[in-house]
């Protein structure tokens, strides 16, 4: 009777790990998540390096790892099965308002809710009593579920971290969304009523794996094979060549520039965002008259939450690396009461439509009521996009007019206002010789029917429009109390200097100015400025239209770009930040006469005014890092638009209002769509090269800063960013080597 003494088959009790090492599980969890970069939802797309989890490695090694984890052309069938069911449940759980009948139990969190529902999912357990028992016997804490599942799958302790990493990287888009939700969520998403944690997500994926692919330990073997096959990426030499060519040309051009001899007062000073799209516009404007332009992060140094009392919506308008320090209300030019009422009326119309659309039986009538109108509207929008847009804004204005907004500064205490104002002026190097008009020009885009609209907005404002921050800074610096306080800090703003806010619409090159009350003396210069802005718009639209391959003339260019902004069929409304290649930290005179072709982030900086290097430290550790994120996002979306980009817009399908999938269902497609970086399916517009940073400062100053900043060491050492120094003390160019030593620049 040997059968009795034999080890029994696995019983449910034994599928639970008898003991597990909490610490090692926790380490494996955090280790696996450290490989995953976040991905922001469509409402505010922030550029991010999809290989941010590999930035601790040298660039070429990160490429190899990226290929091993994310770019494999095949995947074990079992894992694909797990993915299919994961996608189904993740779509249901993370939905932010597409479904009218939502997944039940979501408020209990990802793991609890799905574990309860899995019991009813025959596609998972196929009524197999063992699997049902496995589900019923699972523990209740995510960590324990992870341990039990790893035990069930037979993953040894040494392999735990790699296995968990693979559980994430085999469905990278959704992992990136969870990374966003758990580490980077904004105030609204932090309070999402459907909670998720990193451990919950892993546990969720592992339970599905146990049910659908008990032999998942094979995943480790598959990954080892793939990793062993990796060699130096073939693309690397061409990347390096791109960079070398670009740097040579840049150095040559900069070297030829002579320092200006004398300075006269400009008609106006305009501060633009460092965004690469500002550079060609600034150049176009500077040719129109005596205008001085500056480059500064588009949130103008104000970490604020903007609150709209009409819509009751609020959002953080600052880089995602910062937490907002104050909340500022923006009031409409008309009474708040009236605006709220008008807004409610507009909502009321939408409600009528939605109440018919999202119910049983009523949609059948809805189509017969609205069919002819939809058909007509489809025809107008397609054949006459501008007419459609005029009609749309006309109707909107008739119901709920949009009034000019004014920030209310009361919520920021005076000392804080003074600190904001002084900090911004000093950082942008605008502390003396003020022109009568100083414009802070934020930016935003204008597009129709574009799921990726916010990817074209201001990254420094958290993927939003920059005008509110500009209005706040202008209001602060126009305040007499603030100016008095600034004088105590030796910052003298002439009484006849007026600060104004503006917004550069990057799709059309329009610059909207938001003047509230302009003294009579400034009315004429302001009018001239507006005319010159209009001329600059035409000039820049001409250049951009040609970049987009349109047969443009100076006369029709503005109309062409305007059409792109208003056309609901347009998949390339503008090139956004595609082409970005350099981040230049220097005074404007150094780059003013160079055509940088819209490929450079320009940050104003005068080293003589920054003896302690505080400003440069900030520039290199904040805006430069953001520029590197942007550069990496465009780089990887171009390198492999399937693994790191979102694929073609032609077949995209928006899910849960948070992101897009391809077709019926797929991974959440993080990254930029094909049309943002490619001219056509086969020809890229963006050029594959890492960010080149050029700093106009003594190399000893830069060395000192790098020594103190770990993040800079990581980026420069690992060659994620190239650093060039144009040393004003000896007029020589230096390049930083990977062991962080400046050597004379060699062509």
């Amino acid at each position: 009777m040997t059968t009795i003494t034999e080890a029994p088959l696995i019983t449910p009790k034994e599928t639970t790990a008898p003991q597990y090492n909490r610490q090692s599980i926790d380490l494996a969890i955090s280790g696996s998540w450290s490989r995953i970069a976040p991905f922001w939802p469509l409402k505010n797309l922030i550029a991010v390096n999809p290989l941010a989890g590999f930035e601790h490695l040298p660039f070429h090694e990160a490429l190899v790892q990226g290929t091993a984890y994310f770019q494999q052309q095949d995947m074990p069938a079992g894992m694909q099965l797990v993915n299919r069911e994961s996608i189904k449940w993740l779509q249901a759980f993370f939905d932010q308002g597409q479904a009218s009948i939502s997944m039940p139990l979501r408020t209990r969190g990802l793991l609890k809710s799905t574990l309860q529902l899995f019991r009813f999912d025959q596609r998972l357990h196929k009524n197999d009593p063992d699997k049902i028992r496995f589900l019923e016997n699972l523990s209740h804490t995510p960590r324990a579920v992870i341990a039990e599942s790893l035990f069930y799958l037979g993953i040894s302790e040494a392999d735990q971290e790699t296995f968990l990493t693979l559980v994430l990287t085999t469905l990278p888009g959704w992992a990136a969304h969870v990374q966003y939700r758990t580490s980077w969520a904004d105030a609204a998403d932090e309070q999402d009523p459907h909670p998720v944690t990193k451990a919950q997500y892993l546990a969720f994926r592992l339970v599905l794996t146990c049910l659908l692919w008990p032999g998942a330990a094979d995943l480790l073997r598959w990954h080892r094979n793939k990793s062993a096959q990796q060699s130096e990426p073939a693309i690397l030499p061409s990347i390096i060549q791109n960079e070398r060519n670009y740097q040579q040309q840049l150095v040559k051009q900069v070297q030829a520039v002579q320092a200006p001899v004398s300075k006269s007062q400009p008609a106006a000073q305009l501060v633009f965002c460092i965004d690469v799209r500002s550079e060609p516009f600034r150049r176009a404007l500077e040719t129109q008259g005596h205008y001085e332009t500056y480059g500064f992060a588009g949130f103008f140094g104000l970490p604020v939450t903007i609150q709209n009392p009409v819509t009751d919506q609020s959002y953080a308008s600052c880089p995602v690396l910062l937490k907002p320090a104050s909340t500022v209300q923006e009031l409409p030019g008309a009474s708040v009461e009236a605006s709220r009422k008008a807004y409610k009326n507009l909502q009321g119309f939408k409600k009528l439509y939605q109440s018919l659309k999202y119910n049983f039986t009523t949609p059948f009538s809805l189509v017969e009521i609205m069919g002819w109108a939809s058909g007509a509207w489809m025809g107008i929008r397609t054949l006459f996009p501008k007419t459609a847009s005029t009609l749309q804004t006309g109707i909107q204005q008739a119901i709920a007019p949009a009034y000019p907004l004014q920030p209310v500064l009361d919520s920021i205490p005076l000392p804080q206002q003074v600190a904001f104002g002084a900090g911004a002026l000093k950082m942008m190097g605008l502390t003396q010789d003020f022109a009568p008009l100083v414009i802070f020009c934020g930016h935003g885009s204008a597009t129709e029917n574009n799921a990726y609209a916010t990817a074209l907005d201001c990254g420094a404002c958290g993927g939003r429009h920059g005008a509110p921050n500009a209005r706040i800074l202008a209001a602060i610096l126009n305040s007499e109390n603030v100016r008095k306080e600034l004088e105590q800090q030796d910052l003298f703003i002439p009484a006849d200097t007026l600060f104004l806010a503006g917004e550069h619409i990057t799709t059309t090159d329009e610059v909207l100015l938001f003047p509230d009350s302009v003294p009579p003396a400034l009315a004429a210069p302001l009018q001239t400025l507006q005319q010159d802005l209009e001329k600059a718009r035409k000039l820049n639209s001409l250049w951009r239209s040609r970049e987009m391959g349109l047969p443009a003339t100076l006369q029709n260019a503005a109309a062409l770009t305007e059409l792109r902004a208003k056309d609901w069929a347009e998949v390339r409304p503008e090139w956004g930040l595609a082409g970005n290649a350099a981040f230049i930290v220097a005074p404007r005179w150094l780059t003013k006469d160079i055509n940088l072709a819209g490929r450079s982030f320009l940050h104003s900086y005068e080293w003589e005014k920054d003896r302690d290097g505080a400003a440069l430290t900030t520039i290199l550790t904040a805006p430069m890092v953001v520029a590197q994120w942007i550069n990496a996002q465009y780089f990887f979306s171009t390198l492999d638009n399937t693994a790191f980009g979102a694929g073609s817009k032609v077949t995209k399908n928006i899910t849960g209002k948070i992101g897009s999938m391809q077709g019926n269902a797929s991974d959440l497609m993080h990254g930029l769509p094909l049309q943002s970086v490619y001219r056509s399916d086969s020809s890229p517009y963006h050029s594959l090269q890492r960010l080149t940073v050029l700093v106009h400062a003594p190399k000893t100053n830069i060395e000192r800063i790098i020594q103190a900043q770990e993040i800079l060491q990581r980026l420069f050492c690992n060659a994620w960013v190239h650093l060039l120094c144009y040393d004003p003390t000896d007029q020589q160019f230096y390049q930083l080597s990977q062991d962080l030593i400046f050597t004379p620049y060699k062509y």
């Binding site: 189904k88 039940p104 109440s355 939809s374 928006i654 019926n664």
Partner: protein, 447 residues
């Protein structure tokens, strides 16, 4: 040469049904053609997209104007084939290939039904002219079988349950292809039944069968639509429900109403597909369900106003208890639902506003149905049937499902009963696309 040409004209029969449908196709194709000039710019297959789109429009012209059984079948096959080719826009993408294949299999099944039906009709009447067959219908059990086969063809083409999977799995197609599909070929079932409507007037049983399948699909499609979390599958499930409603109207003998539904839904859905890039921006507004009973009853009064106006304008005679009541019922429900948000809102002029809204709704609804019905009146294909128990049950189901969503909110704090959770999971699974058409490995997607 001349005799041949004169014979060619006998292959065709152009009537208002042909003209209405062809106008729809041309209007949608023009919009989509212009849209795709920009939308598909840079796409490596833009040229072949246009070639196929043009082919599709021409084959649809043949389809709606054919009078010869063979010609109709051939146009039916050709247009469906071109549609599957359009669906396979990204050829290296396995999931798209599977979608196209799935649709293809479904269409082959439909073509088999259609061929059999045509064969029977030819055998029975001895003529291949559709008009001749319709003018002298032969009544026999074989005619019934032919009608049943036509119904099955319509069900495969218009994605009725259980032939719906190809449609809910068709979203690997480019957006403009989805638009033309939902405004075009998926409506084929409605056209086919309207074309052969006179055959069905004596087939009460088959009409009831069609009606039952239609209502079931309408219910399922709408339920799945309400559960979907991505925009395109939501639109596809919604189309499925709408197709169910359209064929149910055919089952009521109200073929012109079905064609009206076909056209207006086609335009509506084509627009929504093209506009699907805006889905993330459309914020759902709180509709404050369940409404207070008094508000709801008041809204019902305005629903009656809308329904009466609808009946008056659309010319639906409701003195007799026949299936035309089924046109008035949705008007009543829609009128109620439409005025409800106005009445729930504590505005000052809510009563006159609600009245005005009811008038607008009733008038627009009535006018659009009247417009189509009067266009199609010369065809004489409206044959309302006497009401029966099945119709009663269906009416109850339509009303009950609507009220359920309006009034019943499971209290999540009390927990959900297991049967409800089970139902949710079952329906979630049923609404999923065919497994092969899901891109389970990101890198298997190819643009």
């Amino acid at each position: 040469m001349i005799p041949f040409l004169s014979r060619i004209s006998t292959f065709f029969h152009v009537d208002t049904l042909s003209l209405v449908l062809f106008s729809l196709v041309v209007l949608v194709a023009l919009s989509i053609g212009s849209f795709s000039l920009r939308y598909l710019r840079g796409d490596r297959r833009q040229a072949s997209f246009y070639a196929r789109l043009l082919g599709l429009v021409l084959s649809l012209f043949l389809l709606v104007s054919a009078d010869h059984l063979l010609l109709l079948a051939a146009a039916w096959a050709l247009s469906n084939f071109l549609l599957t080719r359009l669906m396979l826009h990204k050829q290296e993408w396995e999931a798209a290939r599977q979608s196209s294949l799935l649709a293809g299999k479904n269409f082959v099944l439909g073509l088999a039904f259609l061929s059999l039906a045509f064969f029977l009709l030819y055998q029975l009447s001895g003529t291949s002219s559709i008009q001749a067959i319709l003018q002298n219908p032969v009544t026999s059990k074989w005619t019934s079988l032919a009608c049943l086969l036509l119904v099955l063809t319509a069900m495969t083409q218009s994605a009725l349950w259980p032939f719906h999977r190809w449609l809910t799995s068709s979203l690997n197609s480019p957006t403009p292809v989805s638009a033309i599909m939902h405004a075009g070929l998926v409506n084929g079932g409605g056209f086919l039944l309207a074309r052969f409507a006179p055959l069905f007037f004596q087939q009460a049983f088959i009409l009831n069968l069609l009606f039952a399948a239609g209502i079931l699909t309408a219910l399922l499609g709408t339920l799945w639509k309400l559960m979907q979390t991505d925009i395109k599958r939501m639109l596809a499930c919604s189309t499925m429900g709408q197709m169910g409603f359209m064929l149910a109207q055919c089952g009521l003998g109200l073929f012109p109403a079905a064609i009206a539904h076909l056209c207006w839904h086609g335009l509506f859905k084509a627009y929504l597909f093209l506009a699907s890039g805006s889905a993330a921006r459309e914020k759902r507004l709180p509709l404050s369900y369940p409404p207070a009973l008094s508000r709801f009853l008041l809204a019902t009064c305005f629903g009656i106003v809308a329904a009466v106006l609808f009946a008056w304008i659309s010319g639906v005679q409701v003195q007799v208890a026949d299936t035309r009541w089924f046109l008035v019922l949705p008007a009543l429900v829609a009128g109620t639902q439409f005025t409800l948000p106005i009445l729930q809102d504590k505005g000052r002029y809510q009563l006159p506003l609600a009245f005005f809204a009811a008038i607008v709704l009733g008038a627009c609804y009535g006018a659009s149905v009247h417009f189509m019905e009067s266009l199609l009146a010369p065809l004489g294909i409206s044959q309302p049937q006497p009401l029966n128990a099945l119709h009663g049950v269906a009416a109850l189901v339509l009303i009950a499902s609507w009220l359920l969503l309006l009034f019943v909110r499971p209290d999540s704090s009390l927990g959900y009963p297991n049967w409800l959770l089970k139902l949710y999971v079952q329906m979630l699974n049923a609404g999923q696309p065919h497994p092969g058409t899901v891109t389970t490995h990101r890198n298997s997607y190819k643009f």
